[in-house]
């Protein structure tokens, strides 16, 4: 089966700054891909390439097998998009927005839209301008879901929102997947959210994909070790498989990629022992990859 999103070796720079460098990313139908990365790492830029708002300098972007720049109508009619930015026409009322959106999307499902409005506790006749940020995010979500897009693109959807709205958004993602096997790609800095709803997780750093893996596999292959060295060490211990380390003196917590057996041999090589081991959680993995050298300066 062809992937829904197929990004091949794209590179994009803005002036001297390279925003994306040789990024390859694929997403199968019916999966949820979580895109994580530090601020300015290129998440939004990547998502905008999928929307066709940016053209890659090199490489190709295919969404549903089509080029979003060459054929924006076919691609965009199947994409639901919600971003942190408030782009809705705020002078409209909710019902006006619904009518307006209907004109763009032949697949608009008014019954579903009404159902969402009810579920989210929105007033159809209130102006968007007067709504709170959370309510407006719900309206945005309604507008992005009601035409049942094949691909839901969420760019930091829950940034700065309260937990209840966040839960609505997550619920929407879950339902989108459960309903019709549609596809979701979302970027978030809340790793807990990614952990819950993503099948796959891609980490982007300085415009490069660090890893793009099945979430369960990722967790199962990363261990959080507490390594006790025989001598105090001024710098974090480096050994085969270690991704990142934090600590000081003799005791270091290390995120290790590999099996327990591998960890034991690797640690033994640097004359240290494993005091404690468990699976690394997503936060630890993320931090380890963000600061691979480790240590607190």
């Amino acid at each position: 089966m062809n992937p829904i999103v197929d990004i091949q070796n794209i590179t994009r720079s803005f002036g001297a700054k390279t925003a994306l460098s040789n990024v390859t990313l694929q997403q199968e139908k019916g999966t949820v891909l979580g895109l994580v990365g530090e601020n300015g790492s290129g998440k939004t830029t990547l998502i905008k390439h999928i929307l066709g708002l940016f053209k890659p300098d090199q490489g190709t972007v295919r969404v549903f097998g089509m080029d979003p720049v060459a054929d924006p109508v076919s691609v965009l009619s199947q994409i639901g998009y919600l971003s942190e930015e408030d782009i809705l026409p705020t002078w409209m009322r909710v019902d006006q927005l619904q009518r307006y959106m209907q004109g763009f999307y032949p697949t608009w499902d008014q019954a579903y839209a009404d159902q969402l409005v009810k579920e989210f506790g929105l007033d159809r006749y209130s102006k968007l301008q007067g709504l709170s940020k959370g309510q407006r995010a719900r309206v945005g979500l309604m507008a992005a879901l009601a035409y049942r897009p094949e691909l839901l693109l969420l760019d930091e959807p829950s940034s700065g929102l309260d937990p209840i709205v966040r839960r609505d958004i997550l619920g929407a993602i879950v339902r989108t997947i459960a309903d019709e096997g549609r596809t979701v790609l979302f970027s978030s800095h809340l790793l807990g959210e990614v952990d819950r709803v993503a099948d796959r997780i891609a980490m982007i750093k300085n415009g490069e994909i660090i890893f793009c893996e099945n979430l369960d596999d990722l967790k199962e292959t990363h261990l959080a070790l507490t390594v006790v060295c025989s001598q105090p060490r001024p710098v974090p211990p480096r050994f085969k498989g270690a991704v990142g380390a934090e600590g000081s003196g003799k005791e270091w917590s290390v995120v290790f990629k590999g099996t327990v057996a591998e960890a034991e041999t690797s640690v033994a090589e640097i004359d240290a022992s494993i005091a404690e081991q468990r699976w690394a959680n997503l936060d630890e993995i993320f931090v380890a990859y963000s600061r691979p050298t480790g240590g607190s300066d």
């Binding site: 925003a19 994580v36 530090e38 601020n39 300015g40 790492s41 290129g42 998440k43 939004t44 830029t45 905008k48 929307l51 066709g52 708002l53 940016f54 053209k55 720049v69 060459a70 924006p72 109508v73 076919s74 691609v75 965009l76 009619s77 994409i79 998009y81 971003s83 942190e84 930015e85 782009i87 809705l88 026409p89 705020t90 002078w91 409209m92 307006y100 763009f104 999307y105 301008q129 760019d155 930091e156 940034s159 700065g160 970027s187 800095h189 809340l190 790793l191 936060d283 993320f286 931090v287 963000s290």
Partner: protein, 604 residues
Amino acid sequence: MPSGNIVRPNQSLIQTLLAFAYPIGIARRRKVIESTVALVVAILASYGIKFLAPGLFPSGSPKAVKAMVDLLENFPAGVLFGILYFQAMGLGSPEINTTDTPASLLTQRTFVLPVTTKKLVLIPMLMASLFVLVPAILYAVFAILPLNLHVPVCLPLLMLAYTVCSSNSSAWMMSATAPFGCLFLPIQLGAPFAVLIGWINGYSPVLLSIGVCVVLLVSVLSALAAAPQARISSRQLGAKRATGNLDKQKARGLTRVMESDSTPFPSSREAQYWIETARNIHVSVPMVIGVMGLIILVFLWISSSDWMVGIFGSNSKVQATTEGLGIGGIQVGPHLPLSLLVLPGAAMFCFMFAANSKVARTITLGKVSNEDSLDPFIAIRPVTSLQITVARLKSAVKTAVNLAIVVTALLFLWTLSPAKEGLHRGPLIELLSAHAKFRTWLLVFVVALSLPFVLWTCLAGEPIAAVTGSRKSRVGTSMPIVIAFFTVVPILGGVIIASLDETHQLELIRTWLMFFLTILVAIKLIVAVVGALRLRRKALISVPELRTGAISWIVALILFSFVYECVIQPDLAGLVFISLIVAAILPMNRILWQVLRLDESRHR
């Protein structure tokens, strides 16, 4: 010195004061400074010429000189309006901050003064040269050569240059300034026309000034009404930023992971405008203009009463000039109605510019005025750039048609008003009620329609930018060339015409205009072809669409020419036809290039 028609210093002064009082407190202080410099230069130059004129040309002045002197006499005000217009449109300040609207300046009184010598000296000089030196050169030409030209011959040339220059720079304005600035500027666009045309044709400048004043007042009042809202919005904007930062900090503290990438959409930072309440621009624009027009009409009715005439004096020059301005079968004798046309046309501009607001942007699928920017909400919708452009165009057409209907109705009302002896309304009423009733009204409608529409369509400095194909060359680089083209060519034409004897002049003017327009057509056609090819190459338009477009354009042209053939005197039909091609090609080019630009900005 032909003393009868000249020197009404007090009236010039009134106008000057009127014009000068206006920008203070609205425009930026820098602009006021620049304007002042330009004003001084302009007035000095203008009056200098006037004082030099008698010495240069002592007695037995030909009519042309009289006319030019007459024209020049009116220039300080026109110059000033022009300067303000240019100033306000941000010619000297392309770095204008979009939130820095005149409305916010009105309320906050915070002026930023990044004045550079270049801007302070060069730009006013440019203004001054544009508005003073050009007529001065023309004047010199007419003064030195023994010729006999009517004002009406020179005036269209000047107006052409003026319109083209201002319409080109308005593209700059649109890209640079905020909607509120735009609200005032178009009125300035119309004001000099109104005053010039009205005054040259002997209408009391005081009355005209008051008329202009009313319109200005309306715009100022509406800006004031909108100001608090704009202020609130900007405050909200600030608050939003603050909370955004707070969230960032929270996120940092809690998860050690940062929030979103900081490359937002080209988000609309502008404040909210009062036009937001107006849901439908197609209705609201003509409606408001209709109201404005009615105000002017009532004012004119009052002004034509005996006691007003007693105060301001009647129009002695009416008889002399009514014959001149007519072209072919169009006898629009009384020029006040024409200025009435200009004023609402200009006022419409203000709404078009105010259409930068979110409402209008949504209705028209983007900024009406700025083809480069696309609302982020629209950018991700499944519509092609062509559809967006066509939708915008449709919206403009609707507005123009509605507006034309309103203006025609206003003019009709005007003709119904009781005619007073010695007043300027006589000829039009006679004309309309006597012969060629239908023709005249058709033409009035077409003029009313074409004015806003053509103004709208020639907004961007297309020709040069289009040929070079560079986005960056858009206004900045093309402007001087365009200005040069549209000033040098008329001057050259004027010199050639002037060098010939009287009997051949009219014929030559016609030929020359033909030549001028043909060049225009050629350029525009090249531009159109280049645009179409690019569209095709980018697969933004299908071959059938391209074919259908070309065919319908030609058919429309033939149809138009047929209509005009029936309406216009046969010997002028050729000229009108070519003008029509120009007029028709403008929107075509605009569509082609707008699609390309839009697409460029959409997929960056």
